[in-house]
């Protein structure tokens, strides 16, 4: 067991898989010699060499297209798109090519690849380098979508993503890179499509993802200490496949549902979860499900503005307290 940053967990997760399988290759902008703009891939170039860790031009379509062509013909590429906002310039691959080739070819074409990307706000980068765009991917049949919140999950879910036979979009949260967590020694392999109850409770279920997980945890601790409300916090971890059984099971126990989403409000993943719970567990609910989201606006750059729009532990505490009538 060692303490590791989320940032270092990325490099360790990739290294674990590249060591295991020589068909795993890694490409992206500044990922090799420079070690990544977030320093999340430091050491990989030195360890695995320029043939397996390849620096690319600023050509997001070429990066994703090349990853796909390599995946179709036998490699297991990991491609980095530096900021998830840049998905918009290479979205053809994410929306049209990776997820549809198997279906359109009646099962002939395979596409086992991972796209990892820096997602989320908190760095004061403004509206085009701060978004949480996991919803852009969740809506597309054929993709799998993962967003870890801890260093251990980064390694385990990276391994699961690399070993998965489908295209997996792997969202790393930029504001989590510096956070630390305990990580066991040796190989770590997790399972896609599994949510995790990170804090058990009986009064309300709070569903969160990525940066919103530690914020939900902090809110839950305060709700318990200050207001006697015992919240269960569920880290979704994987939007597709979605572990609805863990979510429905938690709601059956607590009878209240809150989602905490960093994305702007419309069509957020929380809406899908609320819809599933409303369809399948309506009579488990003692009150309306509540979504806590960023308002439906572009993200501002100034710290004072950005801090207001993202869901905070304060906002989660206030919302849960008010909804439970405490």
């Amino acid at each position: 067991m060692a303490e590791l940053t989320y940032r270092d967990a990325v490099a360790r997760g990739i290294a674990q898989e590249m060591t295991r399988d020589p068909d795993v290759v890694f490409l992206g902008e500044d990922v090799g010699k420079a070690g990544g703009v977030f320093k999340a891939t430091v050491g990989l170039y030195e360890q695995f060499g320029p043939l397996r860790v390849r620096d690319t031009p600023i050509s997001e379509q070429a990066i994703l297209g090349a990853a796909m062509g390599a995946a179709m013909t036998g490699l297991k590429p990991i491609a980095e798109i530096m900021f998830s906002d840049f998905f918009a310039v290479c979205f053809d691959y994410i929306a049209n090519e990776f997820p549809k080739s198997r279906y359109m070819s009646n099962g002939q074409t395979k596409c086992p690849l991972v796209v990892r990307t820096g997602n989320g706000a908190g760095s004061r980068f403004g509206a085009q380098h701060s978004q949480s765009v996991e919803n852009w991917c969740m809506m597309i049949p054929g993709l799998k979508v993962v967003a870890p919140s801890t260093p251990r999950d980064v390694i385990g879910l990276m391994a699961a993503a690399v070993r998965d036979p489908d295209p997996v979009i792997f969202f790393e949260h930029k504001s989590l890179y510096a956070t630390k967590g305990e990580v066991p020694d040796g190989e770590i392999v997790d399972t896609l499509g599994t949510a995790k109850i990170v804090r058990p409770g009986k009064d309300a279920t709070i569903i969160a993802l990525a940066l919103m997980v530690p914020r939900a945890n902090e809110a839950a601790n305060r709700l318990k200490a200050e207001h006697g409300i015992d919240c269960e916090v569920v880290d979704v971890r994987s939007l597709v496949p979605l572990d609805t059984q863990t979510i429905l099971g938690s709601v059956a126990k607590t009878n209240r549902l809150f989602t905490v989403e960093e994305n702007p409000r419309l069509c957020g993943w929380g809406a899908e979860i609320v819809s599933i719970v409303a369809d399948e567990a309506f009579y488990d609910l003692d009150g309306p499900p509540v979504r806590i989201t960023t308002p439906h606006i572009p993200l501002p750059a100034a710290d004072i503005l950005e801090d207001i729009v993202l869901p905070t532990p304060d906002r989660i505490v206030e919302t849960v307290k008010r909804s439970l009538g405490s």
Binding site: S59, Q61, G65, G69, D92, E97, R102, M104, G193, T244
Partner: protein, 344 residues
């Protein structure tokens, strides 16, 4: 009219250049006839409402598909566009499989799940037909990267139209392939029209692919795309270069499509006489004359024509008799486990 240099086999008085050999010449001819007959049949079946959806024909452009495919080795990979029937057939995919897909029958190449614009037959090296302009150039780069990384000797060959040269992915892929020295061959079929608009009206250079080659350190190559021998020789050169580890090629083939952009397009935008002038240089007509010059008998040619026509007739009847796809394939192969489950 664009460049139309008619390269007769061998210079006048120097005798015929028989570098290709009779067996390969007959294969080149047969391939072009298959493409012509199958696509003409597809058009007829469309008029009978038996081919549904859209279709983009390569009538008139057969020499490009036949020439590049005949120069390939087993294991070489083709990446096609939505105008991909010819490139698919040229790799040896049975006519019935292609027509079946166009007719959306259960005997189709993808059992009706892909349609005309997405023909794929990996067992024949046809790694897909891509309907988003430019998408497959980077994908071909990736397949070539795999060959380079694994030390495989196959070449990835990527076909696209003149219109593709004005989209970003073209330029990203060319630079990427050149910098990484990938074994990929980019083949631009310049048929003079991007869709309905003349390519010259919307492109800053005369040759939309070749005149961009120098920007990526590549040789400027423009060839007569209606002469299968010229195409075949150029393909061999490019494949040999790729296999030797000397990087990509970009080849612009001058050709002309006899039909409109898609089934919806009667091609009224063409100047009067243009189609007729190009039909004088119909690739199959050129090649038939070539075979006669080489001493192939009229009977041999007629036998090939008759056999191909029978093959297409038989395929048509098989497709007409084939059932529609069963509804249970609707949700198969969304994910690699064969199903479509996105939740537990």
């Amino acid at each position: 009219m664009a460049r139309m240099s008619d390269r007769a086999p061998g210079a006048a008085g120097s005798g015929l250049n028989d570098d290709i050999g009779e067996e390969k010449r007959l294969a080149l001819y047969r391939s072009q006839v298959v493409l012509r007959e199958a696509e003409q049949r597809a058009f007829d079946l469309f008029l009978q409402n038996l081919v549904k959806g859209t279709s983009h024909l390569s009538l008139g452009q057969e020499a490009v598909a036949a020439g590049f495919a005949e120069a390939m080795q087993k294991g070489d990979l083709s990446f096609c566009t939505y105008r991909g029937h010819a490139h698919t057939l040229a790799r040896g995919v049975p006519v019935e499989k292609v027509l079946g897909e166009l007719m959306q029958r259960d005997n189709g190449l993808m059992r009706g799940k892909g349609g005309s614009m997405h023909l794929t037959s990996e067992e024949h090296g046809v790694m897909g037909s891509y309907a988003i302009i430019g998408a497959h150039l980077p994908i071909a780069c990736g397949a070539a990267w795999r060959a380079q990384y694994k030390g495989h000797k196959d070449v990835s060959v990527c076909f696209f139209g003149d219109g593709t040269t004005n989209i970003g992915a073209f330029h990203e892929a060319l630079n990427f392939a050149a910098v990484w020295k990938l074994p990929v061959v980019f083949v631009c079929e310049n048929n003079l029209y991007m869709e309905y608009t003349p390519i010259a009206d919307v492109t800053a250079v005369q040759h939309p692919a070749a005149d961009r080659a120098s920007a990526y350190g590549l040789e400027r190559i423009v060839i007569d795309g209606n002469d299968a021998d010229v195409v075949y020789r150029e393909a061999q050169k490019a494949y040999a270069k790729a296999r030797a580890g000397n990087g990509p090629s970009l080849i612009e083939c001058m050709t002309y499509r006899h039909s409109g952009h898609s089934r919806a397009d009667p091609a009224k935008y063409r100047p009067e006489g243009e189609l007729e002038r190009w039909k004088l240089r119909d690739p199959i007509k050129i090649y038939r004359e070539r075979l006669l010059q080489f001493g192939v008998s009229e009977k041999t040619i007629a036998d090939i024509d008759a056999r191909v026509r029978k093959e297409v007739d038989d395929a048509t009847e098989a497709c007409k008799a084939a059932p529609m796809p069963p509804l249970d394939i609707l949700t198969t192969d969304v994910y690699a486990d064969g199903g479509w489950a996105w939740r537990n």
